[in-house]
């Protein structure tokens, strides 16, 4: 069901003028698990993170937190993230819509150098939000996602200006 949520968010981003995006499915990266961090950096993923002015993480909630494999992938880069905004989309079968996974991400985002935005999207009872084919069943998510994306795009513009034009004193 997280794939349906990710595809929906991808479509909403692509509907925005002036925004270019791509979906990265971490299952397709196939990073090694006998090492970690920048030692296992995937050049395509790193290049995508370098190009990006902002990141949206769509994550299911496993045992009240994010999947270990997602942390493993995020840990493979660092300089590519610094001073870029990140928004989190939580997905869960229960009522909380990944609220706990979003909270658990905050210290991780900070240490990676990413800047957390203050809007989230919570897909609670996700099996009722999408049908088996991925069709959205609850139109309120269009409005919620619009607010989330507006915040993310604003942060992306401001932080890009800062990265490129405002020197660290």
């Amino acid at each position: 069901m997280s794939r349906h949520a990710a595809q929906f968010i991808l479509g909403e981003v692509r509907n925005r003028d002036g925004v270019i995006t791509e979906l990265i499915d971490i299952a397709e990266l196939k990073l090694p698990v006998d090492d970690a961090g920048e030692a296992i950096k995937d050049p395509r993923f790193a290049a995508a993170m370098e190009r990006a002015d902002g990141v949206i993480i769509v994550s299911p909630e496993y045992n009240h937190s994010f999947p270990g494999l997602l942390k493993h992938v995020l840990d493979s880069c660092l300089k590519e993230y610094i001073h870029k905004p990140a928004g989190i989309v939580g997905v869960s079968a229960g009522a909380f819509g990944g609220a706990r996974v979003i909270e658990h991400f905050q210290p991780v985002l900070r240490e990676l150098g990413l800047v957390s935005i203050f809007w989230d999207v919570n897909f609670g009872h996700v099996h009722k939000v999408f049908d088996q084919s991925g069709r959205l069943l609850d139109d309120s998510y269009i409005r919620r996602t619009d607010k989330f994306l507006s915040e993310l795009v604003w942060m992306a513009k401001v932080l890009r200006h800062g990265r490129e034009q405002v020197p660290l004193q």
């Binding site: 370098e50 190009r51 660092l78 300089k79 590519e80 610094i82 001073h83 150098g113 800062g162 990265r163 490129e164 034009q165 405002v166 020197p167 660290l168």
Partner: protein, 46 residues
């Protein structure tokens, strides 16, 4: 630092302490205002 792709002077926008398995360093991060390239350099330890 000059951008390795387009030779434009890069803007230093961050210094971040990083703990490696054998050392602690400061990573200075630079962005190119022309092409968006990101580069980093290791500064002296903490």
């Amino acid at each position: 630092m000059l951008c390795p792709l387009c030779d434009t002077p890069m803007n230093k926008h961050a210094e971040k302490p990083v703990t490696l398995s054998t050392d602690e360093i400061i990573l200075a991060v630079h962005s190119c205002p022309n092409c968006g390239k990101v580069e980093s350099e290791e500064l002296k330890g903490l």
